[in-house]
Amino acid sequence: MLLDMAVSGFGDRIAVGSVDNGLTYAQLLDRAARAGHAFSAAGTERVAFLDISSPALPVALFGAAYAGQPFVPLNYRLADDDLVALAERTAPASLVVGDDQAQRVSSTQGLHVTNRDQFLTATLDGDTLEPSAWSMDPEDIAVLLYTSGTTGAPKAAVLRHKNLVGYILGSVEFMGAGEDEATLVSVPPYHIAGLAAILSSVYAGRRIVQLANFDADTWIDLVLAENVTHTMVVPTMLARIVDRMTARSIELPSLRALSYGGGRMPLPVIDRALTLFPETRFVNAYGLTETSSTISLLGPDDHRAAHSSDDPAVRRRLTSVGQPLPTLEVSIRDDEGQPVGPGTPGEVWVRGEQVAGEYLQQGSKLTAEGWFPTNDGGELDDDGYLYVTGRLDDVIVRGGENISPGEIEDVLLAHPGVTDAAVIGVPSDQWGETIGAVIVGTATAEELKALVSERLRSSRSPDTILYREELPYNDTGKLLRRVLRAELTES
């Protein structure tokens, strides 16, 4: 439906690729329709995608919608056993696969396998198919996304057409992009932001430039070569981009808008980025897979006001995820599910058309009133700005006191001798949990403990401090807390 609309409005614009040889929206629609026919003919139930970003991604994504089959991107960075387990759960499925990945799932039954080049060649020529054949049932499942499974077997988050279309219609202006605009997508296909970027860009009419495997130098070179105007990155990517831009003494004046999300952004990184990109409009977007991407955002004006202010209250806005989208509701709830007022921490609950809150086996997690408890801790301030403190699972309970790791991490990161920091609960016989900190940097343990005691209070001061060359993140910028918890528990 979204692509169909794009073709009606601006079919000759380039949808994906370079200005010279990219696919137009009309070509993308033709290819997606042919792909959809092939998926239908294969008689499978789903369309799996095991590959890096390429033009095959939007063709397969929209082709799956055409065929009325859920699109299921698989994480090619998983270990073999985990990948095979997900492939087996996804079968019977048509699978579009990169050459280097094909043999990894060769033993899985029930897969109708096409490699990327075959897939793109097969959808290149053929009859132009009638767009009215598109499946339009808003209740159909559009996408199944496996969660990263940090606490057990990955769950398959269900996103229906009504959720994704609701999100796009509610947050993106149709044809809102100028013809010269291009967005650089460097998040992978199996991340909600990677899929949302395709849908948003198609609806806005913004050309998509894809970067398959993120590397800061390649990213910078692509921005220059393709005159990229928009991008979305995770915090770890921005940190590397800022480092490389500084090292190369380079400016990227074409970049008008940079949004970031997917994890906690360290204050020093965003401050440096705001200085390096003086004209760029920054957006901090907060959302979950289960909410079809963004539910709250901190806009460009708030970023600049906070960046240039000396007032701690205004500065603090840089650690906020801004205000909820006007199309949905956000509420902070206590342990009993009762709403709490501004300034009181609790769990972030969200309700709206785009909120799916549903898993394939486990079913809907929405309350009777349609609220989705996110399992993220947070609070609202008096002006309705949302501050997210992290997963409630990560909250440290030390001697009966609930301690949010994010609060301590922010203080540690404010020390000039700290470049990265993570705070983790460490099992303790005496306290239940104690506070462990893992630091990248040169600040001494005494300095850091004193800093936390002074800024917060002594019970927030880390009991154990370890030093590392770098912290473990997955490729979408999520800190692997369980790895650090194991290391801290051992020490």
Partner: protein, 100 residues
């Protein structure tokens, strides 16, 4: 006509095309006061009724008073969109900055 989200309609009096964003059931969606056409339906070449030729704008949304029916213009034209002979209003939305 039987309305549903995703349904494409074209004007019988001008070049306007819309896609239904919200609304369902039996609704007489009109352009220039004349019922719009579903894909494949004949009946073009009509003329807009007096006072119903304000025109449509590409990319803009139009809705009825209570917001139950909403359409998005995918091709502009000269007629006015309406439910029966009642014109629909232009829906003003404050654009959000791109977030993904």
């Amino acid at each position: 006509m039987e309305l549903r989200p995703g349904l494409k309609l074209s004007s019988a009096v001008c070049s306007t095309e819309v896609i239904v964003v919200a609304g369902s059931g039996d609704v007489d969606l009109t352009c220039g006061g004349v019922s719009m056409l579903v894909p494949g339906e004949d009946g073009g070449g009509g003329t807009a009724a007096d006072g119903l030729s304000e025109g449509t704008m590409l990319g803009k949304r139009y809705c009825d008073d209570d917001g139950a029916v909403e359409v998005l213009c995918t091709k502009p034209g000269d007629g006015s969109l309406g439910l029966g002979q009642t014109p629909m209003g232009l829906k003003e939305a404050k654009p959000l900055p791109a977030s993904d």
